[in-house]
């Protein structure tokens, strides 16, 4: 098992900066998810860790050992590809045994180890088949078995569930998580699906535009997004972000008498940040809005969808902002009716529109 450390690692393809200089430490046994929209450099980062792509700058350490310029075969890392990359001309058994043969292990040792892994993944009945004949889920299991069989120092997985049917993804998600718990191996997992990331990660690395936006636990990136990108990207729908003018402890938002009183513990921070007054973005999750007739904020119901356990209200606060409120499923809000709400003071966030970064209470204190 291993610690992976990236120091100022970057990748340029000609003029294109695929990954900007990045620092990241992945601890021993951790399950880290690289999350971000397509094209943000997740795969490239993973391939640099594996050695399949050379870096154009920076250092990669594996357990303190500098592996930046080592061949992939010398890094002791396993890679699970999006489309599994099972060797089509070999049977499942040969596929799984293949990494062990590279190490020149004895026939008996290989056989024994293959059997162990096969049992762990419950794929004994597939051993003599060719990968082409297997279902997506079974191919996935075989790919995992091939990665596990060598007991590598770390696992890298590039959207391993991307090629599976939606209803099967959840099963495999649980299976990968279970394997991680059993094996407790350092894992770097790439996905663009934030639900998957939230469900699986010990820590999430949110990437966008070839850069790390935030590193944190799922709760941290959800509740304390570091910037507007993370606030929008995490959650479905993302965080409500309403722009307003801050002055004297009140944010004046566009729309009829939308004057939001900032919770007392935030006032000093905002005063300091804006030197008295300035433009601010107020952020809150749909579940942080509390519908009540005495609410200080107001809008008009634009649409509402019933989600079984709750109703998602889409509310027009003014001509620019449609916000989302998670409300009680039993209270009906017909379209077009006015609705008033408050924001849970524990769950409100503020962003500086000039930097797009979150304003932090901790720094201000």
């Amino acid at each position: 098992m291993a610690t992976i450390e990236l120091r100022q690692v970057e990748k340029r393809f000609g003029d294109l900066q695929a990954v900007k200089p990045m620092d990241l430490t992945i601890h021993d046994g951790e399950f880290v998810v690289l999350l971000g929209p397509s094209g943000c450099g997740k795969t490239t980062t993973l391939r640099m860790i594996s050695g399949l792509e050379t870096v154009t700058g920076g250092t990669i350490l594996l357990d303190g050992r500098n592996v930046t310029w080592l061949h992939p075969s010398e890094r002791d890392i396993a890679f699970v590809f999006q489309f599994f990359a099972l060797y089509p001309h070999m049977t499942v058994r040969q596929n799984i045994a293949f990494p062990l043969q590279a190490q020149g292990e004895s026939h008996e040792a290989i056989e024994k180890r293959v059997d162990e892994v096969v049992e762990l993944l419950e794929i004994g009945h597939l051993l003599d088949m060719r990968p082409g004949k297997l279902s997506g889920g079974d191919q996935q299991r075989v790919a995992l078995a091939r990665a596990l069989v060598r007991r590598p120092a770390a696992f890298l997985m590039d959207e391993p569930l991307g090629a599976l049917d939606a209803d099967f993804r959840e099963t495999m998600r649980a299976e990968i998580k279970r394997l991680h718990i059993v094996q407790n191996a350092t894992t770097v997992y790439v996905t663009h699906d934030q639900v998957e990331a939230m469900a699986m990660a010990d820590r999430i690395v949110v990437m966008s535009e070839a850069e790390i936006q935030q590193v944190g636990t799922p709760a941290e990136v959800y509740h304390k997004p570091a910037n507007l990108f993370v606030a929008r990207f995490i959650g479905s729908p993302g965080m409500n972000l309403v722009r307003g003018h801050y002055a004297d402890g009140v944010v004046h938002m566009p729309g009829a008498d939308n004057h939001y009183s900032v919770p007392p513990d935030w006032r000093r921070v905002l005063d300091e940040t804006f030197g008295g007054e300035g433009e601010v973005i107020v952020g809150f999750r749909p579940e942080a809005a509390i519908v009540s007739d005495e609410g200080t904020l107001a809008g008009q119901v634009y649409a509402s969808d019933l989600h079984g356990a709750y109703t998602m209200l889409h509310v027009n606060m003014n001509e620019h902002d449609i916000i989302h409120i998670r409300s009680d499923r039993l209270v009906l809000h017909p379209i077009g009716t006015p609705v008033r709400f408050d924001i849970n003071p524990e769950m409100v966030r503020f962003f500086d529109p000039r930097t797009e970064k979150a304003i932090s209470r901790e720094v201000g204190q």
């Binding site: 992939p72 489309f83 060797y87 990494p99 091939r146």
Partner: protein, 332 residues
Amino acid sequence: MASFVETGPQAPVTEAIRVDKVSPRSRLTRTVRALIVIIVTFIGLIPVFVMGITAFKSRADVVAVPPKLVFKPTLEGFVYLLTERAVLTQDRLAEAQAHIDELNWMQRIALENGQEITGPSDYVFRLKNSAIIAGVSTIVSVGLGLLAAYAFSRFDVPGKGDLLFFILSTRMLPAVVVTIPLFLMYRQLKLHDTHLGMILLYTVFNLSLSVWLLKGFIDEIPREYEEAALVDGYTRLQAFFKIVLPQALTGVAATTVFSLIFAWNEYAFALMLTSERARTAPPSIATMLGRGGIEWSAIAAGSLGFLIPVVIVTFALRRYLLRGVTFGAIRQ
């Protein structure tokens, strides 16, 4: 059809055919198409058929007008093709007939025409040259082509596009145009009439074909397969042999057959650039026309024997070829 409608299916229905979808026209076109294919095949095979029967005709039957379709087959043509013979004098003839039990079948056939075998003909020697030159040049051009195609497919070779075009351009001039300069060059380099010279020439000629063909096949193999092997502890070369090569076999087989057929059949260069030692079979079959009357049956036998290796190789590789000739367009 009527009985089907009344009684229902008589056997398990494995293929659903909606009766209203089977237009009589489409069935007719299918029949017509099959008929055309058969006719074209038949016409195409007539020369081969004539060659085949001519090879087994005796001297008298070959020249018979109208051509005989029914005749007594003989291996005379083959004996003439493969041996040098001398005419026997009367007393030597009698002596040979006395010892007929000790002669093999070839000698006996020669004897029937009053000849004795003095040794193998040039043709045997030239067939061997053909085999060596075609075989070696095919192996080398497919081997080199495979490595070059892999590099072009997987690595950022500087000037890749230009190089590939250059390789292709070696094929653009017709053979007749380059034979004279080649002839002069080969004389200077002492490559004229050598095996090495012919092997080099055919290798270079086939290389453009094999690089381009094989690159197409290798491009089709996702690089994730090799990358998986790389992270699993194999070197690039090992990954190439264990992962890429087995998946490129279709392409290798197709390229081998194409290269072999070219090198085996090549006539113009061989005629110009070889005379004795390295002369291949195709020009020597043609020169048989000239020596003391036309030995049609020997020529037919030579052509037939010359066809057989190509047929054997193509047949042996047919499993790969069926997919290979689609140039990698269809994968599994």
